[in-house]
Symmetry: C2
Subunit: 111 residues, 2 copies
């Protein structure tokens, strides 16, 4: 146990969960906001803006890259991070579609 069961769920459900993970930590929300608003871009600037150690920021950036929602372009000795637009758009579509669906039919005793 302790390990999330992914096999019994659909690919779509697992992808939604992964996209949501990108936003499921305040530091990653802050990073994505900074990048989306182009307030920062270079890793060092992100570290300056965030109340976390460099190693921790790097770890969050790695997770965001794994999900695919950001890119990291090396420009030695710096790395320039930015939103990966296709995946950002995927997230927009995914959450937009998901949250648009809401049957208004009452169930049971009208809860």
């Amino acid at each position: 146990m302790g390990l999330t069961k992914t096999e019994p769920f659909t690919t779509e459900q697992n992808r939604i969960a992964d996209l949501a993970k990108a936003f499921a930590h305040p530091a990653r929300v802050a990073i994505l906001q900074l990048l989306a608003r182009k307030k920062a871009c270079v890793c060092g600037d992100l570290v300056d803006e965030l109340p976390l150690a460099q190693a921790t920021v790097s770890q969050h950036l790695k997770e965001l890259k794994r999900i695919g929602i950001i890119r990291g372009d090396v420009d030695p000795p710096r790395v320039c991070y930015c939103i990966n637009e296709p995946v950002w758009e995927e997230a927009r579509q995914t959450f937009g579609g998901l949250l648009a669906t809401l049957e208004t039919v009452v169930c049971c005793d009208g809860c």
Copy 2:
């Protein structure tokens, strides 16, 4: 450490992270889809639909209730769960707004 730092982030950033957590696990995505599409409602039916033990489903329902995105109305001996519409709408607005913002200005060397 291992404890998420919440204090240095804004209330909004922490709320976004919490709302995202609702969708950050495939089982919770499945639960929310079932409820939004009114395919199930009673806890027992949710357990039947999901490939998880009753205790695990109950734990996920508890987390979703903590976030506020679902309600659980007791109808002994059953409990009828449903989407909490105001919070569902809050999520729609939140993610809609967040993902709408994307500056297209290039940074650095055009990443």
